[in-house]
Symmetry: C2
Subunit: 310 residues, 2 copies
């Protein structure tokens, strides 16, 4: 259901109107007090919210305005992938300081790019004045049987999509003032693995999470929620070109998907279909040694996980 | 559906855990990547997002931390009232600067109070560091036939709930450094008129909006969306004790509901049921004189509306 765009006057409304014009058919039903969205019969609603704040989650000098908003919205959409949920739409609330106003068109374009990548639309939003740029994205999705964190069982396999470590390598180079080189693209353009997660869910995945805090930390969340242990084989973890094992193990903001599954997946078929590796990296255990045990690497940086072993 | 709360370690997770503990049974399913929410069969999903930013939407010295978060969440819930939608839950994304950290428990309590008032629960959220406090609330609701802005037809009546003008009077007194006196409560504790709006929708309301920009401006949004004119009788507009007509006409952030309706409502029954007046304040026209015409008052402050008449 869509409504006529009927906003009042004033700078805020003008800015919203300009963004909605840029979005074209990607914006649906904007202008009423709330969006009205149909949820497929029998499905459940899946909803999540995520915020990106200037100087906390990104530096304005690292990325273009378009990349900043793309990354914020793509990261939020990744939470739908983690639940194997099909997107129904996003709501984007931005706090935009005066000094950012002239970059609103580029911010709008980055949002458009992110919803395009996920095959969804913009269903609402909010624009506020403030002293620092922040982008809060609410993602709405639908799933008959959402994948959650608490479904992992002892004896199952652990799989991860993609190749890890590039965002951490990029972040380190950005932070030291160097060029992020080949790692820049993976940092600036994370891809929510929505179709991939649905593929895995349909083939028997029992639990899933997206890697936002880092592989070991996020696997720890699955282990804690499921009441199991997880053993990872560091040497099996697929790494982006020339990155350190540590960056692949604990680097945040990967937005790849980790799933557990009793069944073995056909990684070749997955890779042919999505042009992305799917790699078995560990095993679910009955937690004899702790929630997460990493074999084959000494993990030096303790960032949000509970246990390590060399 | 609820999930085990299973968050990792670290200051952010500790803060979230503390808030979730304070919320008790008001928090549902927090801890997974996204909330999973059932939508009643046949109903549509209604979704909206709203942000309150420190020093833009409120001053920290005017309100207690609990009032600040209550007001932010209640204002967002008012958008569900405007659609005659029953709440399914809220997601609250907060940017909380270091200097606000010790007030997180009070911010959590204000959120709890707002969801209690609306008879709903907290289904997710996000906590970020930043330099200014902001609270972005996503409200999710359900309705078989949501009330929208474009349903007003010439010849219908225009009704408003409550008594207007107190928030504008409070704001003026706050801004001048004076005590807001009897107006403080209406400013600090707006009540989303959800049950009231559902009552009006069930009895034939054709369009609705909540008063956030000011009565004349918001009535103008309904007129624009519906392609009609609206004539208001300033002398009929119910006013809070001793407020000026102007404050009732253009004062923002009332969070009362305006509806149009071909049928006449039983205002006595409404008032007995909700302890709140329901007043007929105008008529929908075929827009002969402009989108909004106000009779009986000269409106001096031009704030977001298109036309006035004395």
């Amino acid at each position: 259901m869509t409504h006529t765009i009927a906003l009042g006057t004033g700078a805020e409304f003008d800015a919203i109107r300009e963004m909605v014009d840029r979005w074209g058919s990607r914006a649906r039903g904007i202008g009423d007090d709330a969006a009205v969205i149909g949820v497929p019969r029998g499905d459940q609603l899946v909803a999540s919210v995520d915020t990106a704040v200037e100087d906390k989650h990104f530096k304005a000098e690292w990325l273009t305005p378009r990349e900043i908003s793309y990354r914020a919205v793509a990261a939020a959409l990744s939470d739908l992938a983690a639940m194997a949920s099909r997107p129904l739409g996003v709501l984007v609330a931005m706090v935009v300081p005066e000094r950012w106003r002239d970059r609103l068109p580029q911010l709008a374009d980055g949002i458009a790019e992110a919803v395009d990548v996920a095959g969804t639309t913009i269903r609402g939003g909010n624009l506020s004045d403030g002293s620092e740029l922040s982008i809060t994205t609410t993602v709405l999705g639908t799933a008959f049987a959402p994948l959650v964190r608490d479904g992992a069982r002892a004896g199952e396999h652990v799989y991860v999509t993609g190749r890890l470590g590039a965002p951490a390598a990029a972040l380190r180079l950005f932070s030291s003032g160097a060029s992020p080189g080949i790692y820049r693209e993976r940092f600036a353009h994370p891809v929510p693995r929505i179709a991939e997660a649905i593929w895995l869910a349909e083939r028997g995945a029992s639990a899933a999470i997206d890697i936002s805090d880092g592989l070991v930390a996020d696997v720890g969340h699955v282990a804690a929620a499921s009441g199991v242990g997880i053993e990872l084989d560091a040497l099996r973890i697929p790494r982006f070109t020339d990155v350190a094992v540590d960056d692949a193990l604990v680097g945040a903001e990967e937005y790849e998907i980790v799933v557990t599954s009793a069944a073995e997946f056909n990684s070749d078929e997955f890779e042919r279909r999505f042009s992305l590796p799917l790699t078995r990296i560990g095993t679910v255990t009955s937690m004899t040694n702790g929630p997460v045990v990493v074999h084959g690497a000494r993990v030096d940086s303790v960032r949000g996980y509970d246990h390590f072993a060399s």
